[in-house]
Structure formats: C-alpha cells, structure tokens
Symmetry: C2
Subunit: 179 residues, 2 copies
DNA sequence: GTCTATAGATGGATAGAC
DNA sequence: GTCTATCCATCTATAGAC
C-alpha cells in the first residue's frame, strides 16, 4: 500500500462534498465550487473520481458508516431493548438540531437522484434496510420493528419540513407506548 | 375579465412543469425543455411567469388543490371517523401506484429547494399543516392526529425509497390499531 | 402570441505544461 | 499532485422582428 498521503486530497474532497451536497443539494453543487472550497485542482479531483456521481456514491458510503457508528453508540447507552430503541430517537433529536433540520442525507439524496442513477438508489435502499434491521434485532418482532422504522422516517422528513423537533417528540411518545 | 384563451398557454406550461418537476426534479428541469414539451415560445413563458421559481410556486399551488380534492373524496367514502381515516390511507396506496412511487410532490420540492427560497418552503409547510388538520378534525384528538400524520409522512417517503407499498400497509395496520 | 438570436454565467469533463 | 486553457453543452433570462 503506497497510499499514505493520498487520503488527504481524497478525504478533503469527500468532506467538502458532504457539506455542500447536504447543504445545497447534489444538483445545485457544481464541480467548480467543490474544488474551490476543497482547495484542490480540478485535475486532481478527476484523478480520484471518474465522475460527479462517483463522488456522490463515495460520500454516501462515508456518511452511512458514520451514521451507524452513532447509532451503535446510542444503542449501547440503553440497558433494555426498550431503552435502546428510545435512545436512538434521542440521538435523532440531537442529530437534527446539530444539522439545523436539514434532514436525512439519504432521503435527500434519493429525492434528488436522476431516474437513471440506479446504483446509488440501490445503495440507499440497503442503508435504510440496515437501519430497519437495527430495530428488528433489538425487538425480535418484525412487524413492530417495521412500525418503528416508519415512525423514524416520518420524524426525519417531518422535522425537516417543519424545522422543529415536535415530530420526533410525537414519534418517541408513540414508540414508548408501543413497546 | 378578458382572459379567456390565455389560460390555455399558462395551463399548458403548468401541466408540463408538474410532470417534469415531479419526474426529473426541479433543478434538473430546464426552461428550454419545459417550453419544448409544452409547445410554447420562451417569450410566452416569461410573459406569464417572472422566474422559474414562480412556475414552481404556481405548480405547487395547483397540485395542492388537486390533492385536497382527492383527500375529501376519500374522506367522503368512509361512514365513520375511523373508516374515513383509513380511506385516506387507501387513497395513498392508489396514488403511489399511479405515480409509480415517485413520492410526495411537497416532500420532494422541499428537499430540492435552495436555502434562499423561503416563500415556497412556507407554502409547503402550510400545505402539510392543512393535511394534519384533516386528521385532527376527523378525530378530535390532537395528539392522535399528530401520530397519524407522522405515519402518513413516513409511509410516503419510505414507499418512495423502497419502491413498493409495504410501508403504507404497515402504516395502515398501525393506524387501525390506534383508532 | 410566435420566432430567432443572444447575452452571460455555469455545468461537467479533458488536455497540456510544470 | 498543481496550474491554466479549453471543449461543448446547458442554464436562466432578455431583446428584437414578425
């Protein structure tokens, strides 16, 4: 492995892409702005990524990894299945405040995708399926886990639209009653 | 009122915009494609709308009106509050199949908005608030209505991501239990 | 209302020099 | 890896002629 300092450039591109794609949206973020803010040359970018779509894919992979890192930390805090599930909803609260209610990276990406980008759509489906499995493994009740996943998704998009935490509070309240 | 044939051009633009914005997304749909498919001249378009944003706004207003038309038809079919609420979820099923799981016009729009387009974001919030009131008036239970609204939103986005109806079925099942 | 022409910016992507 | 120059397409919007 001779890639020792290469990660620096690639990582700077990915971090900048993560910020811009999330704040402005994927179609509204141009390559020119991306390289300007990342401080890399255009030729360097195209040495690490073949297309803009490749950057989107790599960025989503990175964010997915970070997301499940946060999820498992939240799960570790609860001392019962019920407490673990509720801890995930508490994590969601903190997350939304931290990102200023810009919603879910994956929901946002799927909405902004062009019809032909099937590979990325598939990746997002896998991410969401994995999130569903987190609840399913905690609860050992497939049907209940589906309901909670649905409330989680609803809380994500609704809080983004409203710009406040009330949907998460509503979801958490109902989850507590269901468990 | 001298506007008797003017609606034709304006309406053709709006209908085409509705189709393209919904299928391809707002940023990915260009004015040039819009006028080409609507069969109007560019100068004509700018006679009816000041900016592309104005078209988005008018399109959302039109779709919102049509949406609540469908909702009240669904509500009219039920013979009890519970049946009326469930009828709305049945309507959602038909809607999603008809549009091939492209999701909610308003959720999609809010995700694709640039940060500065506050007026349109406000309109979408009002649309969703009105949808919440539909459930609230049927149930006379504010907190229960919020939960059902949340399940509705979750079913919308989840079915879009998955590309099937299982989230709506899950939502409907839980709603039936809650009522 | 239509048509064409064009402005002026920006899009993604490539090539060559260093 | 950097820089600059450039390709061609597309973007929103305006102007002028008919």
């Amino acid at each position: 492995m001779k890639t020792q300092d290469a990660p620096t450039v690639r990582q700077r591109i990915l971090d900048t892409a993560a910020r811009l794609f999330y704040q402005q949206g994927y179609p509204l973020t141009g390559i020119n702005q991306l390289i300007a803010e990342a401080g890399v040359a255009k030729a360097s970018l195209y040495q690490h990524f073949r297309t803009k779509d490749d950057i989107l894919h790599a960025y989503l992979q990175q964010v997915s990894q970070q997301w499940f890192q946060q999820v498992s930390e939240a799960v570790a805090q609860g001392h019962s299945p019920k407490a673990k599930v509720l801890a995930v909803f508490d994590m969601l609260k903190e997350f939304l405040v931290a990102v200023n209610f810009r919603g879910c990276n994956f929901q946002n990406a799927v909405v902004q995708l062009a019809p032909e980008e099937q590979a990325i759509r598939t990746f997002i489906q896998a991410h969401k399926a994995r999130m569903g499995r987190v609840f399913a493994e905690l609860l050992a009740d497939e049907s209940l886990a589906e309901e909670i996943t649905l409330l989680f998704e609803g809380a994500l998009i609704s809080s983004q639209i409203r710009g406040d935490l009330t949907p998460v509070a509503t979801a958490r309240r109902l989850v507590e009653r269901l468990l």
